[in-house]
Amino acid sequence: MAEEITIKVGFGDHFRDLTVRLQDGDIAPWQPDQQLDVVGQRKPRLDAVAKVTGTAKYAYDQQPKGLLHGKILRSPHGNADIRSVDTTAAAAMPGVRALLTASDVFEDPTARYAGAEVAAVAADTEDQAEAALRAIVVDYDVKDFCVTLDASMAEDAPQVGRGDQKNVERTSPRSRRRRRGGSGEGGGDQQALERMAAREKEVNAILDDCDAVVEGSFRTEVQTHAPLETHGSVCSWEDGRLVCWASTQATFGFRREMTSNWSPVGAQECRVLCEYVGGGFGSKFSAGREGVLGALLAKQAGAPVKLLLDRSGEQTSAGNRPDSLQKMRMGVDKDGSIRGFQIRSWGTPGSGTGGAGAHNDGIYELGEIDKVEYGVRTNCGGARAHRAPGWPQGSVALEQIMNMAATAIGMDPVEFRKKNDSHPIRIHEYDLAKERIGWDQQRIRGGAANLCTGVGMASNLWFSAGGGGASVLVRIAKDGSVEVRNGAQDIGTGTRTVMGMVAAEEIGIPLEMITTRIGDTDDPQGPMSGGSTTIGTVTPAARLAAHHARKELLEVVAERKGWEVADLDIRKARVIRNDGSDTGLSFQDACLLMDDDAIEVLKARPRRNYAGFSDTNAGVQAAEVEVDMETGVVQVKKVVAVADAGKLINPLTAESQVRGGVIQGVSFALHERRIMDRHQGRMLNDDLENYKVLGSVDCPEIDVVLLDVYNGKSNTQVMGLGEPPIVATAAAVANAVADAIGTRVFQLPLTPKNVLEAIAMKKAANKPGTKKGARL
């Protein structure tokens, strides 16, 4: 029996009524006029004390009795097949307790990049394990390789893959046959090619008819995740049951990988524990080969094994954000409307072809779009999801060509964006960003002096209201203690704390009275931390469970005291009446009235979301940079980040998420780049001193503006904020640099070399911008 209610949705001065049919058992979203005691407060994390005192135990810190140390032998060759692996000498070495070859475990005799797993050893000490790796004799069939996009796309390029795999394959649009899992060849693809040709012709005609056409060819580099805690786990088999202390973004997914029938591990039972994880950023969804090898080494040795990657392994083999080459043409009319957009883009996800797409055709109303996308195989470590996969690199290209188009028709870039934006929240965010960055301030820009400043803007878009797949257990004990349990992990976003806050709000007690338990697959199911959906998935279940637990407690109180249950509520740990008067009963005393030891309520999140105010969350960012025209050094002075994420549960941690996204975005814009040795085929900067990430000295001032949006999509109406803030940052910085130096740098990162080259090119060419450019 679904209940129909009318709620207010919106933000600021933009509220409207919405009729919602509540799913069975669900409760109404909080309303703007509702007084909330915990939700919306700036609450320090529940695990902050453990983290600042070093008492938080990560997978890396687990030291069960009899712990062995696991290490992985990696291929030194850019591209090879493994003919044989001789482990005889290694197996006989001191302290060696288990030994596996990757070709046996994964039934894959190839080593397609320098860093590919070849063998793994567990020994009493790390030194012994490393010594044993050195004693393994591998016979490689060494092949030619390609480690860069350009090398792989060259006409006479060596074959990266095996069999009939081509180096470059179209990934979008897909042919009908490919969509059904076919090879992409044959009749189905012929039809796709015809459709593509027709589309290209159509959009070309539109572009020919536009007042102005701008074009650009943008490049971004491979960015590694570099989470400080590397990937892997400590595994122990206890009476046939596998226990993994894993560094993971998906406790339940990790368990599935250990227990599925397709898994080389094939455990009957598995418990995954992950109370803390030292960063993931998308790279820790899968247990990975390191997880499988760790579990199997522990099984073979009959003892716990710690196998977490060393830094080189993390940098080469545990994922990255693919690079991109994006060629674009955009056609606009003088009134500022975008009429046509043509995109051809390439990116390498490693030896496969999927997952290297760039999201460069969204956010704005872009007219008729003709987009073709290709995956390029290289002999490099494979990509994994990376904080807003595909978005920052897509944004870097899209937002720059937006600026170029605005310039071509003499329109302010912000007004141009507004003209082509229909997002109900973002449209109100531009002016906030504009004002706080000082958009219209007088600046020395355009390369007019040795030190120039500039401003740039770009937008976010994300889709993170969450969904089904989480249950939360709330336990109110007779002694007044309250426990909230969910088995999913908190990767540093603050999920644990917001889950506790939502339960505290609903029960009517302060957060400090709540104990939260997370990161344990023996607890109720929870989602992986992906797509910024964790908070939107877990908190509605937490609120629902807390709601019913409180109701049960009040029923006990009403029965024991002879009061009317409908007249009772709990607020600030006091039992009160509907008129607000105190009953004289504290929450603690109320709990003592229970006959049983505890009230336990387990509730699942309703699977569906309501229509809500907006399906997406937005955001606008503006950056201010200073560029030294002589040295090419870019300094990001300030970033204004206007962000929205549905209802704000904890503004303190929400703000941290935005700051973190901005910092990684600035790092991507200025520094980050995987450097491959074209002669040896290896990653040269597989460490943390040559792979440069933004440090404290380069860190800009970050001004975060959070909008509190009652979006009505779930009973907590919160959306995740991990990914959206990283989408726009690098693009805003790139636009600011162009504003400062008076020309565009088409290649990220914005290193002194790339900036100086762009300045030199401008001086050499010194000709006006393109109009009606050549076809792609």
Binding site: G54, P227, L228, G279, R659
Partner: protein
């Protein structure tokens, strides 16, 4: 022979072991790893009668950690970080880059910051070692740690112990640092989640209140 400050080693052999004797020990470790020559054979080559050769096997190492003398047996090639983590269970200091470029293993040695991954445990003999566990406890946070909590100067928390140690040293040296000095103070510490601004605010907050 236990390596202790009281071992009576000659003065030029600072911290209880000379570079020369250590290198011999380390050389033996490497040789065993590569070619499996028995350690005794390597150890005898060029050995001088008047020099004690340490290792490659475990030797007693006594360190003063967080105001307590603690002794364990470990190979002399053990880094200070591994000794703290694996032998003393002090896992607050993290191994992240393992080559002194990220600061996650930062500890204090006689009050000054060092990267524990990049020094040998035996080189810390006779020195006062302070790890994050020795700075404040969950029940008794320092003002700086409290400010870290309040300003949300942490996300995943893996860099946090190193940050806390670095900022503690910074405030001890300079109780009123300006923003640039704070930035410089943590320039050797990498945070991947992006908490720098919160850390700066936490240090400023602590400093304003005259705390440490």
């Amino acid at each position: 022979m236990a390596i202790t400050p009281e071992s009576g080693v000659p003065e030029e052999q600072r911290d209880g072991v000379s570079r020369r004797t250590f290198l011999k020990g380390a050389g033996a470790v490497a040789a065993v790893g590569v070619s499996q020559i028995p350690a005794t054979a390597v150890g005898s080559v060029g050995q001088e009668a008047d020099v004690d050769v340490l290792g490659p096997g475990p030797v007693p190492i006594r360190l003063r950690i967080n105001k307590t003398d603690r002794e364990v047996e470990a190979p002399p090639s053990t880094t200070l970080l591994d000794l703290l983590r694996d032998h003393h269970g002090l896992t607050g200091s993290k191994r992240v880059c393992d080559r002194g470029s990220c600061g996650a293993c930062t500890v204090l040695l006689d009050g000054r910051v060092v990267d524990a991954c990049s020094m040998l445990a035996i080189d810390a003999v006779g020195r006062e070692i302070t790890t994050v566990e020795g700075i404040g406890t969950p029940e008794n946070l320092t003002a700086l740690q409290q400010a870290f909590v309040e300003k949300d100067a942490l996300q995943c928390g893996f860099c946090t112990p190193g940050m806390v140690v670095s900022c503690t040293a910074l405030l001890a040296e300079n109780p009123k640092p300006d923003r640039d000095q704070i930035r410089q103070g943590i320039a050797g510490n990498i945070c991947r989640c992006g908490t720098y601004q919160n850390i700066i605010e936490a240090v400023e907050h602590t400093s304003r209140k005259g705390g440490k």
